[in-house]
């Protein structure tokens, strides 16, 4: 049977040894990538905490809400923003749990930080941030915690598989059998 790596047909003439070395290098790169990727949730969480601190202080670097409202028009009422926040939280959790169930690698943590910053800004310009800060904070912590857990568990499973394959190559010098 012809071995394939990255969907590229292997040259039938290449010896088994060189294929194993190639696969080993590829596996080592993947392990490195997975180690790096497993921290993605934590980085997103850290960025979110910075955004929360700025929101807590009322976004001092931004122009006053009245000036922004004068330039862009009135923001949606606070209760409409709250309804959207509720649906967003529900959808994000369901989506994250579905991806966890399906074992899909999806790099979505940082976009959630963007959406949550949007909610903070809308509440800020609607002058309702004081009443709703903790709701957005709680929504963000929940979504990012579930996302971080999803990414971390995905990476842990993948790392365990890759490590087993690496050990097999180092022990036998042969390409490991394909998983089902």
């Amino acid at each position: 049977m012809t071995q394939t790596i990255d969907n590229q047909p292997a040259t039938g003439l290449a010896p088994q040894q060189s294929q194993a070395e190639l696969l080993e290098r590829q596996l080592r790169a993947e392990v490195k990538h997975l180690h790096h990727f497993s921290n993605r949730g934590l980085w997103a969480f850290s960025l979110y905490i910075v955004v929360c601190l700025m929101a807590w202080r009322g976004f001092p670097m931004l122009p006053l809400p009245d000036r922004v409202v004068a330039a862009l028009g009135p923001p949606p009422p606070a209760h409409v923003i709250s309804i959207v926040l509720l649906f967003y939280t529900f959808s994000a959790i369901i989506l994250s749990l579905s991806r966890m169930t399906a074992g899909i690698e999806h790099k979505s943590s940082f976009c959630h930080v963007g959406y949550l910053t949007g909610f903070f800004l809308f509440y800020h310009f609607a002058k309702a941030l004081d009443d709703n800060f903790w709701a957005v904070f709680g929504a963000g912590v929940t979504i990012l915690a579930v996302e971080s857990y999803r990414i971390w568990s995905f990476c842990r499973d993948a790392l365990s598989r890759k490590t087993e394959q690496l050990e097999f190559i180092q022990r036998t010098g042969r390409v490991p059998p394909e998983d089902e």
Binding site: A78, H79, L86, A135
Partner: protein
């Protein structure tokens, strides 16, 4: 914790359910707080209108003594922190606090700036814009409402008055109501919601945990014990039973495997030729 099946299954569900319920609680509390605040402002505005209508005749007759008595009497009502009547120049004309009489207020102060922000003061404001919340000198939170006293034909046509017809606003009535009862009600609602939220969380997370333990984790533990027995070459004492359908086939295979091993070891008396009875 994350190496066990229970940890892997329960941690994300616990985080998701707990977080979502807390977010719902915070949003609901914020909505309730806004509704209660809006209703209180409406109540205060209505009370200000009632005072203006009640004192209208005394104002028209310029009966200062009657006006002062009425304002004092209303000011003694429970929950009313202050009542002031300002004239056009912002000087306190009548007040429930004698020390405030004939003092001028800053037009840039909160409560005045709403109308006096521009060069020409606004003659009308929305209900919520008329209201302000502050802590008074006695350390109590107060919700105050400003109600304009408009010029009417009876005012500028009266022989004793000097208001020109072009003057739209003659003065303002400022009424301050204590927020103590409102804050107590909100605290009571908040505490009840916290208890309710904790009960929902305990029921949901506890229910999921109990069901998973009963239906998945305990059968898996039994299956693990069976596998360990087979691996150690021990003969299981009884047919494995009460497994869910998905695990029953594995349990049967393990049991049959142990029977074969036992048979090969030369103890035919112990061989049970039949298969494990299936759970219904």
């Amino acid at each position: 914790m994350f190496k066990t099946l229970a940890g892997r299954a329960l941690v994300p569900v616990g985080i998701a359910v707990t977080g979502f319920v807390i977010v719902c609680f915070l949003l609901l509390y914020s909505v309730i707080k806004n509704v209660v605040n809006r209703d209180t402002v409406g109540y205060a505005t209505n009370l200000a209108d009632t005072i203006l209508k009640s004192t209208r005749y005394a104002m028209l007759k310029s009966d200062r003594e009657m006006l002062a008595t009425m304002i004092q009497n209303i000011g003694q009502q429970k929950g009313v922190e202050h009542i002031r009547v300002f004239n056009k120049k912002g000087i306190v004309h009548l007040s429930t606090r004698p020390e405030e009489l004939n003092r001028q207020v800053d037009k840039k102060a909160e409560g005045c700036i709403g109308c006096h922000a521009g060069a020409i003061p606004s003659a009308s404001l929305g209900r919520m814009e008329q209201a302000r919340i502050f802590t008074n000198g006695e350390g109590r939170e107060v919700l105050a409402v400003m109600a304009p006293i408009y010029n009417e034909p009876e005012c500028f046509n009266a022989p004793c008055h000097i208001h020109p017809p072009a003057q739209k606003v003659l003065g303002t009535l400022d009424i301050g109501l204590s927020r103590e009862m409102l804050l107590n009600s909100l605290a009571s609602i908040r505490n009840q919601m916290i208890v309710f939220t904790v009960m929902i969380l305990v029921l949901t997370v506890g229910g999921v945990t109990a069901l998973l333990r009963r239906s998945v984790f305990l059968p898996l533990q039994k299956l693990r014990r069976l596998a360990e027995q087979v691996e150690a070459g021990e003969h299981p004492e009884a047919h494995p039973s009460h497994f869910p359908r998905e695990l029953d086939r594995i349990a049967q295979s393990l049991y049959n495997l142990s029977q074969k091993d036992y048979s090969a070891a030369g103890d035919p008396a112990a061989i049970d030729k039949g298969t494990v009875p299936k759970d219904s």
